[in-house]
Structures are given as structure tokens and as C-alpha cells.
């Protein structure tokens, strides 16, 4: 039957792309969230210069397209002796860019949550690091969950840009299949649908996580 033979011929390519996209997005998302937490720490711990440094960082990445850091790392690192695989270069660029947005989200949540709690923790004798780790961060993260979910979806869509540096993911596979078969439209449509499915899945996952965590509070 047409459908099963289609799956047999093209299935593996799409699957490759799907896995590549999903794993890259997952890695870059986790990295971006960690990096964003790190930036929040710098902002809180850096006294007078912390906020300034992080603000400057955020402004740079807010006002430049993400393709530039991708090219910078991919073309530039080999020139300074770091020959990393394309997916790592691309992933790092995504982390640096999206980490800026994550830090802004966390900053907003931090301002919204009652400072009293944090001060109370400090007066109980918790060290600043422990206060950050056990009191500030968990609350800020849970409060930010919906916005972080949005950001993860943006990361997911940004992974398509890694096709410009030949990373195996959905858009790359679509381009390859187009060149191989000449049936341009079909490949891009399938890939578009797959992205929509991934986005839908991610949204569902975050909504469920938010509901689950909210009950336990």
C-alpha cells in the first residue's frame, strides 16, 4: 500500500530528524534554564555590578538574531582551536541566547514573589547560597513554569536554524529529502506538521506539569 511503502522509504529520515530536533531542543532547553538560573545568581550575588552585567548581556542577546551566535561559535571556535561538533556549537548558541530570556523570566518572578520569605530564611541563619538553592530558586522556578514552557517552545522552533550548519534535525532532513526526491512540497509539509505536533506535545507536558506542581503547593 502506498502509505506503508511511504513510511518505509521516508520514515527513517523523518524519524532521524525528529529525534535530532527533540534531543537538541531538550538539551538546549535544560542548558538555557540552568544558564538562566546562573545569570539570576550573578544578578543577586553581584551586589552593585551584578545587575549591570546581566542587563548588558540580556540587551545584547535581545537585540540580535540567534543566527549570529550560531555562526560565531560554529565558524569561530575552530579558529581558536576548538573543533566541536556542529550540534554542540549550535546548542551552545541556543543556550546563550535563550538563557538571556530565561533570566528575564526568572527576574520577573523573583520580583513578584514575597521578599519576606527570602528575608525570613536569611534571618533563620541559612547561608546566602543555601537560601538561594533551597528557598529562592524552587519558588521562582515553579512560579515561572508557564513562561518557561513558552520559552522551551521557542527553543524548539529555533533548532530549525541549526539546519544552516548541517545539524541533523527536522528541517535539515526536509532539505535533504527535497534534494533527493525533488518533491519539495511534501517534505516541508510533513516537517511543518511534525513541528506542530512537537509544539502541541510540549504545551501539553507543561500544562500538566504546572497543574501537578500547583496542587502540591
Amino acid at each position: 500500500m502506498r502509505l506503508t511503502s511511504w513510511f518505509a522509504t521516508y520514515g527513517p529520515s523523518y524519524l532521524n530528524g525528529l529525534v535530532g530536533t527533540a534531543l537538541t531542543a531538550l538539551g538546549a532547553s535544560i542548558g538555557a534554564i540552568l544558564w538562566g538560573c546562573g545569570l539570576l545568581l550573578v544578578r543577586l550575588a553581584g551586589r552593585r555590578w551584578g545587575s549591570g552585567v546581566v542587563d548588558a548581556y540580556v540587551q545584547v542577546f535581545r537585540n540580535t538574531p540567534v543566527l549570529l551566535p550560531i555562526y560565531l561559535i560554529y565558524f569561530g571556535f575552530p579558529l581558536v582551536g576548538l573543533s566541536w561538533p556542529a550540534v554542540v556549537c549550535g546548542g551552545l548558541a541556543l543556550v546563550l541566547q535563550n538563557g538571556a530570556y530565561v533570566s528575564e523570566i526568572l527576574r520577573g518572578s523573583f520580583k513578584a514573589i514575597e521578599r519576606v520569605q527570602f528575608d525570613a530564611a536569611r534571618s533563620l541563619g541559612l547561608s546566602p547560597w543555601n537560601t538561594f538553592r533551597k528557598i529562592v530558586l524552587p519558588q521562582v522556578l515553579v512560579y515561572s513554569l508557564p513562561a518557561l514552557g513558552n520559552q522551551v517552545i521557542l527553543v524548539l522552533k529555533d533548532t530549525s536554524l541549526l539546519s544552516a550548519i548541517a545539524v541533523t534535525e527536522l528541517t535539515m532532513q526536509a532539505k535533504l529529502l527535497t534534494e533527493q526526491t525533488g518533491a519539495a512540497y511534501e517534505a516541508f509539509l510533513v516537517v511543518a506538521l511534525l513541528y506542530l505536533a512537537l509544539v502541541f506535545g510540549a504545551e501539553l507536558a507543561f500544562r500538566t506539569a504546572h497543574r501537578a506542581l500547583h496542587w502540591s503547593r
Partner: protein, 218 residues
């Protein structure tokens, strides 16, 4: 990096800006039309709106661009890369603007709708004297945001062969290998464009604040 390359980058930045401006203008028109659909009396029209926005925002801009670039020749339309590029951006940005405008309309307090109705204002007066001025003021900040996003999205068109700032930068790098300086310069140029748009937006906000108000109701 030599002066010639720098000049080339500045020219390319101008192209990126023009692409963005064209996309914002057409995208705003499209966004207004779409937002009209969002408030249609027919449930099916509203559903079409939601589906369209979901699809356009759910896929990466690059995939949308590839779809449009390959669809045009398939429909026997030979447009240049720039027209196709503006079309892609307009479709993408149009959906974003539609959501912004829709949010603006929803932000109007009920009492203002009802006051306008109670004054017996005819529909055209209600629209031009009340709804549009209010929505324009509520949506100024997110509108400017989308404009900045348009400039950044224009860099994606480089992957499809549209000559603009990112494309020019990559061209120069492949020729000269001056990766850091060229990309640094390109980044600075994008920064100037985006930051400039953002600051203009804030200046406009301040001007409107003095003349009445801007932003969502308290």
C-alpha cells in the same frame, strides 16, 4: 576587516531594515484583518482564526519560509526573493500582530463599551473615536516588540538566499575568514536597528503618556 566589507555590511543592514519595514506595514494590515475575524459573529470564522494563528506560530519561521518559497513557483508565480521574503515575514508577523490587536480589544473595560453604547454612538464613530484609539494605546508596547522581532526574523531569510545583513556577513566570512570582526560588526548593526526601534517605542509611549495615557488600564 576592511572598510569595503564594513560598507557592504551597512548597506546590507539597510536592506534588512527595508525588508522589516515592508513586512511590518503589510503585516499590520493583515493583522487588523485577522483580528476582525477573531471577533466575528460566526463560530466557524473564529475557529479558522485560531487554527491559522496556531499553525503560523507553531512552526519555525524557517519552515514557513521554505513552504512559501517552494509554493510560489508551484503556483506559477515568479517573484523575486525579496517579494517572497516580505511575504513570508508578513504572514508570520501578521499572525503576531493579530494576537496583539485581539488582546488590545479584549483589554477595553466593559464599562467603556457600555458607555459608548449608552451614548448611542453609531458603529463608525464607536470604532474610530473609541475602539481604535484605545487599542492603539494599549498595544503600543507589544506592537514595538513585534517590530523588533521582525528585524530579527529577517535574518532567517538569509538561509533561503535572500541577500540581507546575515547573508552578507556569511559571504564575507567565507571569503576572508574574519569571523569575529565580521559577525561582531553585523551584531552591532542589528543591535542598533533593534535597540533603536525599542527606544523609539519608549519615546512614543512617553509622549502619549503626557497627552493622556498609554498602556493597559490599572
Amino acid at each position: 576587516m576592511d572598510g569595503g566589507s564594513l560598507l557592504l555590511l551597512v548597506r546590507a543592514a539597510g536592506v534588512s531594515l527595508l525588508l522589516a519595514v515592508a513586512a511590518v506595514v503589510s503585516g499590520t494590515g493583515l493583522g487588523i484583518a485577522l483580528a476582525g475575524l477573531a471577533f466575528s459573529g460566526l463560530a466557524i470564522v473564529r475557529a479558522i482564526y485560531r487554527a491559522w494563528v496556531y499553525v503560523v506560530r507553531g512552526m519555525p519561521v524557517l519552515v514557513l519560509a521554505l513552504l512559501v518559497f517552494y509554493a510560489l513557483p508551484a503556483m506559477d508565480l515568479q517573484t523575486g526573493p525579496y517579494v517572497a521574503g516580505v511575504l513570508v515575514l508578513a504572514i508570520y508577523v501578521g499572525a503576531l500582530f493579530a494576537e496583539v490587536f485581539r488582546g488590545g480589544v479584549l483589554a477595553i473595560p466593559r464599562a467603556q463599551w457600555e458607555s459608548a453604547k449608552s451614548l448611542g454612538l453609531p458603529p463608525w464613530a464607536m470604532l474610530s473615536k473609541v475602539v481604535i484609539p484605545l487599542v492603539a494605546r494599549y498595544t503600543l508596547a507589544p506592537y514595538v516588540n513585534v517590530c523588533v522581532m521582525t528585524v530579527k526574523a529577517s535574518s532567517v531569510l538569509s538561509i533561503i538566499g535572500v541577500w540581507e545583513l546575515t547573508f552578507a556577513a556569511r559571504e564575507i566570512i567565507e571569503r576572508t575568514l574574519a569571523v569575529f570582526t565580521v559577525l561582531g560588526a553585523a551584531g552591532a548593526l542589528y543591535f542598533v536597528l533593534c535597540f533603536g526601534i525599542d527606544r523609539t517605542g519608549r519615546w512614543l509611549e512617553r509622549r502619549l503618556m503626557a497627552r493622556g495615557f498609554v498602556g493597559e488600564p490599572a
